[in-house]
């Protein structure tokens, strides 16, 4: 069964986010003075063929720990949805 997986990777709380900080610093120049908490991250989308959702989730979780994220500085969030097959 195929699952469409989205992995969101962001810097861990307490880890400096110079890009987010810089974006937050310039946004008021456009007149948006009500924006705080800007965090920069990245998103990966992949398709995983697995027995069920739990298996797909476990595999992607392991991939995150081993490669996709660096647990020293990054957190990740996995979301999955079953891909319709014709």
């Amino acid at each position: 069964m195929k699952f469409e997986v989205t992995v969101e990777i962001s810097r861990r709380e307490g880890i400096l986010d110079p890009e987010g900080t810089e974006i937050e610093r310039v946004v008021p120049a456009l007149g948006y003075t009500n924006v705080t908490g800007v965090r920069m991250g990245r998103t990966m989308r992949l398709v995983v063929d697995a027995a069920d959702e739990a298996a797909a989730n476990d595999q992607v979780d392991e991939m995150c720990r081993r490669l996709l994220a660096n647990p020293v500085i990054e957190d990740y969030r996995i979301s999955l949805s079953a891909l319709e097959t014709a």
Partner: protein, 247 residues
Amino acid sequence: MTARIGVVLFPGTNCEHDIVHAVTRMGAEAEILFHDRHDLGGADAVVIPGGFAHGDYLRTGAIARFSPIMEAVRRHAAAAGPVVGICNGFQVLCEAGMLPGALQKNAGLRFVCAPVRLRVETTASVLTSAAEPGQVLRIPVNHFEGNYVCDRATLERLRADDRVVLRYLDNPNGSLDDIAGICDEGRNVVGLMPHPERASESILGSTDGVVLLRSLLDAAGAAGAVNATVPASGSASGSMPVVAGSR
């Protein structure tokens, strides 16, 4: 015995010839080791030089650690062989789990390319054995991701074990505890952001990197002497002693 230095080349590495030039000038032999090799060609010490291994894709150093040569580097380190990662090489060693922590983007999002002053914090490492404790060196840095970070427990361990090898006097990148370089528990794996090879002759503006390279060549010479007395292990790496298991 002439020290033999293996210089690892990943796609995107760009400081390999600088290292080869600097160490051969000091009397060592150097060989560039392409990333798809499974052995170190009999090198006594390994340098992972600066650059942008695998284009810094995903994260700096993240892809390089899967290269075949990294297994040989790991075996060499496990057998107490000297391994030094400079700049991008430091990032590779962290991603490979051979050194703790990580290197994130510089504070202030500033690419830093300038000579910096460093203090030698310990001489108990393969990169600083020939230096004086507290010696101040002027060596260039050239990086965007040199801001060292680790968790509190790791930092406490690094301090307690005297594993911070070099500190910045004027922190250029926001690095935690002014850390410019660290070593592993065996003190034979060292990572640092500054480039000693770019401060290795007077025409470059500083020769302060020589004492670090000299230390490495001394360690390589010692490792070479040991290798010469150890019978070949029968592995693909030939003369390298191989220790089973990883740390």
